[in-house]
């Protein structure tokens, strides 16, 4: 039998999913497939496009991989666009002149951003947001300007606004309609969203009809609106909706909708039965679907149709859950209440900034739609009510009213969902599929994700997925353990609370009261050591606690590969006097230590033997140095830029503040290390947005950023509060850090903690700024205790004969460790390699 010649036009998200589904169907062998891909790269994840600005690369976003396509035996033409379809002769022609005949054709050409045809829309620095190339253009344009405007306050517009903010531009959103997200929200939801977004520093202009764009006076452009107002900006980003890419279809004589879109039937066929259209280019029942999930369903339907199946497309749910600039926004079903006779239930809480609305059928039985702003917790439950037409409780409002007592269980337990309930809409995974995966051996959410793909699209279903998986595991009698290790049946958070509440002062006491016995281990001992130090700030080498510490904490230095140690004195804010620099040099020379400037703005001295540490530290302490805690899970450095003292752009004294912060929080033990930075202006030379705590000077005070990270998985810090005076800044930092110490997991950096924090940034802001848990004063008092009881551990140690006993290589000899051998390199020592150790001549002093 001859293979079916199949041509796929477009390799975007849906085009890729089509190929994936075809491969999954196992019938790829029946086809000879050619893919035309207009863009210079194979399909990538457009949904996560914005993450390109926060460090994701084109590779991270890639969905289609060339090796994979080759393995599937596809013929892929990258950078090649189909310009003509001759449906009578079954031929396609490309812009590079390729002519191919096909038996079946699939169009997955997607859509393009709509740019309103106002005069001046085509000026330089007027851009759109759809492809990686667009983002590169935005990045380079933003680097040249200060102000950016997004035209369009819909879903994508707000996402684009976030990107401009992150690029450091003063950001405006200009919306034609009287409210934001006009399609998904109602007036009240739109207003609340607006106030939240404005609080983040984005200026919102609604009911604005742009008339023309001309040269600006202070900026590149000047936008003129119908109401006579003007706005100056350097960059304009159009995000005023999408239009299906149907031109090719139109020219080929395929039926298209009045307002665009390639008309398809339930089988996803166009007006020509051999041509299918899927994704954002397709018009079904008069509707275009601007989300990936419906496109994926169309892709699967088409694969079924081509391989003899009978699946049909039956429309798709357009509910959305988003986190826009840290604000949760959800829209479910008939959110605007258009169904005749529908009843609304609304709840607005201006205190904590939440708005919730239910749209219910006239007989009060079925949920038709919902809106959630500021608190998305009910999304999964409400969506299931709507999709599965589950009968509502007698008083539907219970679903959105805050529960004031604990027994008011209103959420829909996962057990109540029917087998067919769709859990993940991106990949069309039902509750039944997930149960099957669990009974088939998946033991964790990760396993289930791998087996079913659920949760790997937009991620919106992960909370529901997690509770379902845990529920199923428990049903099967599998215990879902959150214990820290075999010695304590508790999480780190539990242990922290036990230590605090019962005022437990030692590991042995905790083990006796709450442990399962034994000596503990390398997991629970340092964790408990850190908790005890966070709570009571005892000297880490006191005899009760010394056994808890990892070697670095035990010897107050970082062990290197050859068993020697490094020495990192604190250099607060990176500021150091010439005299102190000279001392570092002298000490390094005297003990023949390797010296290096660290990535944290200080100096590291390497190659000290255990027995040398106290002498070296005695000299450093005499010269006024303190320990830098480079060995501890504690505050490392507060990096600073030179700031207003010297820098012509600086607006405040970043060095002064950095030193003050470093002195305040030094010695604070925490679940993982903590890094700060302070920049003197928005140019951000101290890279504060990559730190756990970042502070940037503004004309009106300090902006506080939290939970950034460099390292293995960099994370951009979140803007937490703006224009703070120093007192408030310190209060917020006290609270954020103590709350982190209270609730984080062991070895969890603030970035990961934030990612896992239920409610995210908003929740943390509630707790810290609005004191929603009433913990503020307590957290501050706990921090005050740590600050007051600070001592330099090295100073204490060099004066403690007992503690010094441990700093001996041998208890019974003064000889040094003969296995520690150095050689010279670039004028300094380095550890000898094994083969060099065999050569005694290379040895250095």
């Amino acid at each position: 039998m001859n293979k079916t010649r199949l041509v796929v036009v477009g390799n975007g998200m849906v085009g890729h999913q089509f190929l994936q589904s075809l491969a999954d169907s196992g019938q790829l062998g029946e086809f000879e497939v050619t893919v035309f891909c207009e863009e210079p790269r194979l399909a990538y994840d457009r949904v996560y496009l914005s993450s390109y600005f926060s460090g994701s690369t084109a590779e991270d976003l890639a969905m289609g991989k060339i090796e994979q396509y080759r393995e599937w035996g596809l013929n892929v033409l990258i950078n090649e666009k189909v310009v003509e379809i001759n449906k009578d002769d079954h031929l396609v022609v490309s812009d590079k002149g390729t002519t191919l005949s096909y038996d079946k054709l699939v169009m997955a050409t997607g859509s393009y951003p709509f740019v309103p045809p106002v005069p001046g829309h085509d000026r330089e620095h007027c851009l759109v947001y759809r492809t990686i190339e667009d983002l590169e253009a935005i990045k380079s344009s933003a680097a040249q300007g200060k102000v950016g405007v997004v035209v369009g306050g819909g879903l994508l517009g707000l996402e684009a606004a976030k990107a401009l903010c992150d690029l450091g531009l003063e950001t405006h959103v200009v919306e034609f309609a009287p409210r934001l997200m006009a399609v998904q929200l109602d007036d009240m939801g739109g207003a609340l969203l607006r106030s939240k977004i404005e609080a983040l520093g984005v200026k919102v202009h609604t009911s604005k009809n742009t008339q023309q764009i001309v040269d600006g006076e202070n900026c590149v452009h000047r936008m003129e609106f119908a109401d006579g107002e003007v706005l100056e900006t350097d960059l304009i980003l159009f995000s005023a909706g999408i239009r299906p890419r149907d031109q090719l279809a139109r020219e080929s004589g395929l039926a298209v909708g009045e307002r665009g879109g390639i008309v398809i039937n339930n089988q996803c066929q166009t007006s020509d039965a051999d041509i299918y259209a899927i994704g954002e280019c397709a018009l079904w029942d008069g509707r275009i679907f601007g989300l990936v999930a419906p496109g994926y369903t169309m892709a699967k339907v088409t694969v079924a149709q081509l391989t003899g199946g009978d699946a049909e497309f039956a429309g798709a749910d357009m509910s959305t859950k988003l986190k826009l600039m840290g604000v949760d926004v959800c829209s479910i079903g008939d959110a605007q209440g258009r169904t005749p006779g529908a009843k609304n239930y609304t709840w607005l809480n201006e205190g904590d900034g939440t708005y919730k609305k239910l749209v219910v059928s006239p007989d009060n039985k079925i949920l038709l739609g919902a809106i959630l702003v500021g608190d998305a917790e009910a999304y999964g439950t409400l969506l299931q009510y709507m999709l599965n037409e589950i009968q509502l409780p007698e008083f539907p409002e219970a679903l959105i009213l805050p529960s004031r007592n604990d027994d008011a269980q209103t959420g829909l337990g996962v057990a109540a969902l029917p087998e067919t309930a769709q859990i993940c809409s991106c990949h069309d995974v039902s509750k039944g599929d997930i149960r099957q995966a669990v009974s088939g051996g998946c033991c964790s959410v990760g396993d289930v994700k791998g087996a079913t793909k659920a949760g790997t699209g937009c991620g919106g279903c992960v909370p529901l997925l997690t509770s379902l998986v845990n529920h199923e595991l428990e049903e099967l009698g599998v215990e879902v353990s959150h214990d820290i290790c075999e010695h304590f049946p508790y999480t780190r958070q539990d242990l922290y609370n036990l230590v605090r509440v019962e005022e437990i002062k030692s590991f042995d006491e905790l083990m006796q009261k709450h442990g399962k016995g034994g000596k503990g281990c390398h997991i629970c001992k340092p964790a408990v050591g850190s908790i005890l130090a966070s709570c009571w700030n005892n000297y880490v080498l006191n005899p009760k606690e010394v056994k808890l510490q990892d070697t670095n904490d035990t010897f107050l230095a970082n062990m290197q590969k050859d068993g020697t140690y490094s020495i990192v004195p604190r250099i607060g804010g990176g500021e150091i006097t010439p005299d102190k620099l000279i001392v570092l040099g002298q000490v390094a020379k005297e003990y023949n230590l390797y010296t290096k400037i660290t990535g944290g703005q200080r100096v590291d001295l390497f190659g000290a033997r255990l027995e040398q540490l106290p002498d070296i530290w005695r000299k450093l302490i005499d010269a006024g140095f303190e320990t830098g805690h480079a060995y501890g899970k504690s505050l490392r450095t507060v990096k600073s830029c030179v700031g207003s003292t010297w820098c012509r752009y600086g607006v405040d004294d970043s060095v002064g503040l950095a030193i003050e912060l470093e002195n305040r929080y030094k010695g604070l033990r925490s679940p993982h290390k903590i890094k700060f930075a302070v920049s003197g202006c928005t140019r951000e030379c101290a890279e504060a947005q990559g730190k756990d705590i970042g502070v940037i000077a503004t004309e009106n005070g300090w902006n506080l950023y939290v939970c950034g990270n460099g390292g293995m998985k960099p994370r951009h810090a979140d803007l937490f509060a703006t224009d703070l005076d120093k007192e408030t800044l310190i209060k917020y930092i006290d609270r954020v850090l103590m709350f982190y110490i209270k609730t984080a997991d062991r070895l969890q950096r603030t970035s990961v903690w934030m990612e896992n924090l239920e409610g995210g940034l908003k929740y943390l802001q509630e707790v810290v700024i609005n004191d929603s848990l009433g913990l503020g004063a307590e957290l501050e008092a706990q921090m005050a205790h740590v600050v007051e009881t600070y001592e330099c551990e090295w100073k204490t140690t060099v004066n403690d004969e007992e503690a010094l006993k441990r700093f001996r290589q041998f208890v019974n000899s003064d000889k040094p460790d003969s296995n520690v051998v150095f050689v010279q390199e670039r004028g300094q020592i380095r550890p000898a390699r094994a083969e060099e150790k065999a050569e005694p001549i290379v040895m250095v002093g």
Binding site: H487, P526, L548, G563, N812
Partner: protein, 123 residues
């Protein structure tokens, strides 16, 4: 069997750190010593970490896994049984161990490595 009088005096009880390690030089060998008060015993194993290739085990963290007392290497965290020298994370590794004895305040050690695993295998 080695005669008792060949045992050597290493140090005294107050040189040791409870539930933690120190190191002694025995001839050319570095011996890591761990004092576990509730067992009234000092365990002695090789100080050399065969994975990290450095003399550091005395500076590792002491813990227990079910009934087995172990030290975790400070470099890459492999755990070694204090009693037998066996590595809990890598079957192929077994460290030398030594016999020790507390006589009042005095810690005595038999300088002849005493390898329980090898002895068992030998029958």
């Amino acid at each position: 069997m080695t005669a008792a009088q060949e045992w050597i005096h290493i140090c005294n009880l107050d040189d040791l750190v409870a539930d933690s390690g120190i190191c002694a030089l025995v001839g050319e060998r570095q011996v890591a010593l761990f004092y576990i008060p509730e067992k009234g015993q000092v365990f002695a194993i090789d100080n050399f970490d065969p994975i990290g290739q450095a003399n550091v085990l005395s500076r590792g963290l002491v813990g227990s896994n079910e009934d087995c007392l172990f030290v975790a290497s400070p470099l890459y965290k492999e755990r070694y049984c204090l009693e037998t020298g066996e590595c809990l994370d890598n079957e192929s590794l077994v460290l030398d161990t030594w016999q020790t004895r507390l006589e009042g305040e005095r810690l005595l050690l038999n300088p002849q490595p005493f390898n329980r695993v090898a002895l068992q295998e030998a029958g």
